[in-house]
């Protein structure tokens, strides 16, 4: 059983933490590593590539990490963070283009079930499917 870690990168720490709360509500007792790298260190809006790389390292148990992010600098900070990691860790990381909230909910559920990294990443990408199916 794999233990895939998740990282949430957002401009806003409250936004990231609320997204994690919402995702964990599905499985309150599940042990999934979800790390947050969000906001500037003075509490403002912004992203920090060094903090993202630290969050990836913290979330990584050796089975890989899926990173979800909001927009703009969050995407570029996540890409920059990859350059700051050791090669062996970087190879285990996937930056997901999934929508942050919906993707995180799906990813947490399948990661808790022991899915491998590629399965978790695929589930995150499928995050919009239920909403799209419902709204037609």
């Amino acid at each position: 059983m794999a233990r895939v870690g998740l990282v949430v990168v957002s401009h806003s720490r409250p936004l990231a933490e609320a997204a994690v709360t919402l995702a964990r509500q599905m499985l309150p007792s599940a042990e999934v590593a979800v790390e947050v790298a969000a906001g500037t260190d003075d509490g403002g809006l912004g992203t920090d590539a060094v903090a993202v790389s630290a969050a990836i390292t913290a979330a990584d148990s050796g089975d890989g990490v899926v990173v979800l992010m909001d927009l703009g600098s969050a995407v570029m900070s996540a890409e920059t963070a990859l350059e700051l990691l050791d090669d062996d860790v970087r190879d285990r990381v996937v930056l997901s283009s999934a929508p942050l909230v919906e993707g995180l909910v799906g990813a947490v559920v399948v990661a808790a079930g022991g899915a491998d990294r590629d399965r978790v990443a695929a589930e995150a990408l499928r995050g919009l499917a239920p909403k799209q199916a419902h709204l037609g």
Partner: protein
């Protein structure tokens, strides 16, 4: 022969850029409030102030270490898109410089490496109304002037002039990258804040480095 571009000269460039960013902070933010999220001046000032503080707290030993420290500080402290963009610029410049003082050709190659890093990070092209619209002509002008055999100071002046022209030419453009791209046609008629701060970076090089680079 003028002095080489050593750690002291490059440190002076970084400090002059930080001073200029602080001086133009409100102007940069005003430009960004017209077509972006109104944080470019404050973000760049926070990042460059932190970069100068880091130079004071732990002075780097050589040119590559200095520009790497600046880049790492910017990717961490700026917060907005200019953090990974300017941070990657300085990190790639650092990668192109060795521990030894640089000559003018090495500096030009490092500037080109920085430009390539910005392209890789932002995936923008000239004409997208970004910092590339100032940085690309600056690199081209620096290389052309050095190829003609002009002294380093004159070549830097040509590069800064090209950056300024590139900045001015962003006014009629429609933004295709970043927050401004959400505005579409409404972004035309405004000068790009990133191109504006990049022109300041080249002006700072003229001020701090013109006597070096022999």
């Amino acid at each position: 022969m003028a002095d080489q571009l050593d750690v002291a000269a490059l440190g002076a460039w970084v400090r002059e850029f930080a001073r200029s960013i602080a001086e133009h902070k409100d102007e940069l933010t005003a430009l960004d409030s017209a077509i972006g999220d109104a944080d470019h001046g404050a973000n760049m000032d926070r990042g460059m102030s932190a970069a100068v503080a880091a130079l004071e707290a732990s002075p780097p030993a050589d040119p590559a270490a200095l520009l790497k420290q600046v880049g790492m500080t910017l990717v961490s402290k700026v917060g907005g898109a200019s953090g990974p963009l300017y941070g990657t610029f300085f990190l790639r410049m650092a990668g192109a410089l060795g521990p030894d003082p640089a000559d003018d050709q090495t500096f030009a190659r490092a500037l080109r490496a920085g430009l390539d890093g910005v392209i890789a990070r932002g995936k923008a092209e000239p004409g997208d109304k970004t910092m590339l619209d100032a940085l690309t002509p600056a690199c081209d002008a620096l290389e052309a002037a050095l190829a003609e055999g002009q002294p380093f100071g004159a070549a830097l002046t040509a590069a800064a002039a090209a950056a300024g022209e590139g900045r001015d030419a962003t006014v009629p453009l429609v933004a295709r990258k970043g927050r401004a791209s959400y505005l579409g046609e409404r972004s035309a008629g405004h000068q790009d804040p990133g191109a504006t701060s990049t022109a300041l970076l080249l002006d700072a090089a003229v001020t701090a480095l013109s006597g070096s680079g022999g």
